[in-house]
Amino acid sequence: MSSRIKTAFANAKAEGRGILGVFVTAGDPDEGTSAQILDALVEANVDIVELGMPFSDPMADGPAIQAASLRALTNGMTLAGTLEIARGFRQRHPDTPLVLMGYYNPIYIYGVDRFLAEASDAGVDGLIVVDLPPEEDDELCEPATAAGLDFIRLVTPTSDAKRLPVVLGSASGFVYYVAITGITGTSSAAADSISAAYKRISAATDLPVVTGFGIRTPEQAGEAASLSDGAIVGSAVVEIIAGNLGEDGRGTPEIVSKIAAFVGDLAKGVAGKTG
């Protein structure tokens, strides 16, 4: 496991709480604002930053993150640009774990070896690639792990007893429990289903298990973080960007300040200080 990811979970555990992960798309709405948003996340005590690699056809994402991808691409973001944002982030924030999340095609076209070398060099800790199940491990999971990057697996409500060991077999870093059978930013899961899933998954792995998809409020984040090893919030943050764009479709200072305030509340929620 990447030492930064390991340390983040250990620190949270020492404080008696789960971790808070926040997802934003690289270059959304533009490159400069994107870097400022990332700084605001660290400032607001986010434990793990998930940086989305924009893709034209995000088939596991709901309207909010689809629109985020489109904004970033429209304003010129590329995978090379995403890696540059990651590199800048790492220079400014040596300790906060950074995970790249997205779809396989841009990586495949960039070249797997070149991508892994540049991502490692940029200081990326792990990868979440939605459309690469264990059946396709030789594509990216195996070379990524060999390059020292964690390959974070999504476990879903459809991962039954037979499927779970297959999914966890090549997982590293942490396990991302997708709390709903669905796409990002839609419905939310009930507490008892998260808690049952956590029990089932953590019995099958030593890795921390965090919960995501459908977590929209500090209360929900606090609950998910208490029922598992952490909570990940994406669409609710990305919607702040959508709601505060400038007339030219680019970033505004309000985007950064409003995200800072909202994520600060999420962090308090996870720390058990609200709700």
């Binding site: 088939m59 691409l73 991962s159 796409i183």
Partner: protein, 407 residues
């Protein structure tokens, strides 16, 4: 040949669903258990004579198979070269080849105890076929269709609604087939446990490309027998249009090991390949990963998918089935293209000479046939897959023909 099985081109895919480097299962984890379930159920169905019998029953009595292989005498005389035969899959119930596959998958869904069906559609032919099968087998039907296609294929939207299907217009992206497929996949992810996704072409995650090909192979199996009956020998060339490529795969597959049969797949060149406004994934694309499989895609240097352009909604897709990608790499099939204008001319010509109004999709194939058949000897034989009828296209085509002074 005694070693025909060892060298056969008909043994794909491997157990990972790969056709050479193409194909595979590039889907979100939520869908994996479902896809494995479909694969298991399909294998079991293939080994079950009752399944084959039931499918044959509906093919015969409901669809009207076998479809005729018709000697197109006037087109043959017009071109003045080889004999042209049309495999008349446009005479199937619902007016296209799509029903061949849909009945197979719907019967499979029934075996699996699934009564809710999802489908994507471009021209609407697959949507209509799926809505038809769902009415027949008392299943719920949700069809995803790009809003641009909803507009240009209105008669098919009306048919689907009449048959009891719910049509979801898709507004994301460019509102065409690619976006409809994204949205259908998203809907499936959210309803994975209860719904069966009937994919309409030889694409998507394994086992779909194989399964759809198998169900469509009835076209080639019949054509082979019919040409033997009519001419006492195999054809010299077979030709089909390609969007995702299901009608083509269905015609081609039974002929792949016949070295003397030249095979042509005709992609949509839209406004011309150099214009960039086309749907020719093999002629103008590169390998990548989309919608569950690796195949040739229209994409930019950053791996972002580029929108396809074609006069024909059924060919308006930036990818192609992975088996075609492999056959392209193997150089077994010649992949060529025809433009919107050329397809329009062929549409008009076939209507006037044969009294057959072809869909815009096979009009592309006919247009290509026109470029080679005149130079072939008169004793040569060409089979073209007339995979759909053109009624659905009249709204779009008539104003264009009037503009060109052809009506």
């Amino acid at each position: 040949m005694t070693d025909v099985n060892l060298n056969s081109l008909r043994n794909q895919p491997d157990e990972r669903g790969r056709f050479g480097m193409h194909g595979g299962r590039f889907v979100a984890e939520t869908l994996m258990p479902l896809i494995l379930q479909v694969e298991g159920a399909y294998k079991a169905a293939c080994a079950d004579d009752d399944f084959a019998r039931e499918l044959l029953y509906y093919q015969t009595h409901y669809v009207g198979r076998p479809s005729p292989l018709y000697f197109a005498e006037r087109l043959t005389a017009h071109y003045g070269g080889a004999k042209l035969y049309l495999k008349r899959d446009e005479l199937n119930h619902t007016g296209a080849h799509k029903i061949n596959n849909v009945l197979g998958q719907a019967l499979l869904a029934k075996r699996m105890g699934k009564t809710r069906i999802i489908a994507e559609t471009g021209a609407g032919q697959h949507g209509v076929a799926t809505a038809t099968a769902c009415a027949l087998f008392d299943m719920e039907c949700e069809v995803f269709m790009g809003e641009e296609d909803v507009r240009r294929q209105k008669p098919n939207v009306d048919r689907m609604r009449l048959l009891g299907a719910k049509v979801h217009p898709v507004t994301s992206g460019t509102g065409t087939l690619k976006d409809a497929m994204n949205e259908a996949l998203r809907y499936w992810v959210a309803n994975a446990e209860t719904h069966f996704y009937i994919i309409g072409t030889v694409a998507g995650p394994h086992p779909y490309p194989q399964m759809v090909r198998d169900f469509q192979s009835v076209i080639g199996i019949e054509a082979r027998q019919q040409i033997m009956d009519a001419e006492g020998r195999l054809p010299d060339s077979i030709v089909a249009c390609i969007g995702g490529g299901s009608n083509a795969m269905g015609l081609f597959h039974p002929f792949l090991d016949e070295e003397d049969v030249t095979i042509y797949g005709v992609e949509a060149a839209g406004k011309g390949i150099p214009s960039g406004l086309h749907a020719a994934s093999l002629t103008g694309g590169t390998p990548g990963v989309l919608h569950g499989n690796r195949t040739y895609l229209l994409q930019d240097d950053d791996g972002q998918i580029i929108d396809a352009h074609s006069i024909s909604a059924g060919l308006d897709y930036p990818g192609i089935g992975p088996e075609h990608a492999w056959l392209h790499d193997q150089k077994r099939v010649n992949y060529v293209s025809a433009t919107d204008e050329e397809a329009l001319d062929a549409f008009h010509l076939c209507s006037r000479l044969e009294g057959i109004i072809p869909a815009l999709e096979p009009s592309h194939a006919l247009s290509f046939v026109g470029t080679i058949i005149g130079d072939m000897d008169k004793d040569k034989i060409v089979i073209l897959n007339m995979c759909g009828r053109g009624d659905k296209d009249l709204g779009a085509v008539l104003p264009m023909l009037e503009e060109r002074g052809k009506l």
